[in-house]
Symmetry: C2
Subunit: 219 residues, 2 copies
Amino acid sequence: MKVTLNTNVLTNNNVAAQYNRDLFTNSKTLVINMMSSPGAGKTTLLEETVKALSKKYRIGVIEGDLSTEIDADRIRALGAQAVQINTHGGCHLDARMVAATLQEFNLDEIDILFIENVGNLVCPSGYDLGQQHKIAVLSVPEGNDKIPKYPQMFMRTELVLLNKVDLLPYLDFDVPTAIEDLTAINPESKLIPVSARTKEGLDNWITWVEEAYASCAKQ
Amino acid sequence: MKVTLNTNVLTNNNVAAQYNRDLFTNSKTLVINMMSSPGAGKTTLLEETVKALSKKYRIGVIEGDLSTEIDADRIRALGAQAVQINTHGGCHLDARMVAATLQEFNLDEIDILFIENVGNLVCPSGYDLGQQHKIAVLSVPEGNDKIPKYPQMFMRTELVLLNKVDLLPYLDFDVPTAIEDLTAINPESKLIPVSARTKEGLDNWITWVEEAYASCAKQ
């Protein structure tokens, strides 16, 4: 299914999000919107995720950044299809940008599409892109106070990947406190500790993705 | 000089920024707007800065966050005057919020006012708050690609405090590359490596602040 964009959907974010959602549902593509601060490690996590999943699944990635193709190039180097969106100053992706970008994918040939949002712990959480799952990446060096200080992000996501746990010995981050703070803001949310660098905990994240995929799998 | 706010200045960010600037100039208060990603370490740097400067200077701090008084409480614990602004979802401070907050200070009794912006590497850079100096804090765990990927921030700031250099042995961050990338985007900008944790390099930052203060000093 090659998409030709009806430009009417570009008038409004919610209209575009619903348009994207229908495309994802009809093509049975699992779509995960990943959000975090700059430098939390989304792209490195995605590199490891693509490596782990690409033997069984066809992976696509939409990369959101203010500038550069650095991230899309990193994903393409692993053989996955990646399309870069540059927001030129915009602090988040919106569903219209994603809708326009979907023309570059054949969704019938993508099992799992990751959308890496612009590095920003504030703006992206307010924009529905049509994805089935919104997740946050939080990294150990950012500190324990980020969950109470940025509640909108953690209220609106169903999973926190706590990345860079290999740095726990060198920093004051306390994982049980992070889980408590997360539960206080969003009792439904889960936290999975991982390190994209040492690969610790990545199997738990990969299992989470595979279970999510099972609920919308292509025949 | 106790300020009573003329609400006309709240109609427009640039009007409010000019109003703030006039107040800062007339009271000879040095004002520094600090911006960074969430978790780069602005508040910990400010704690060390307040400790280093408060014997010689009267310090005030405006703290910007979506939620909580955590940061203002940390600064008050050191005996400096701190006022918290909560943006309730807003991704940056603007000059109107700062103008309204200035009523809580007596600027004649503040030598140096630090404004800690909302943790965000995108939005805050576009808003003039009336400050004399805009600086960015970048932390080693965020990675080398942040300068090319967030050019608007680094184009619009005159100094980068590269924080958490105590983590350099555990990470791949390359300081000469960061300086090269910064110079390519903004040849006027300087980079000072620091660690708020080990206090490495803090003397260079304190010297920078004192030199900036000398150019607008109170009699």
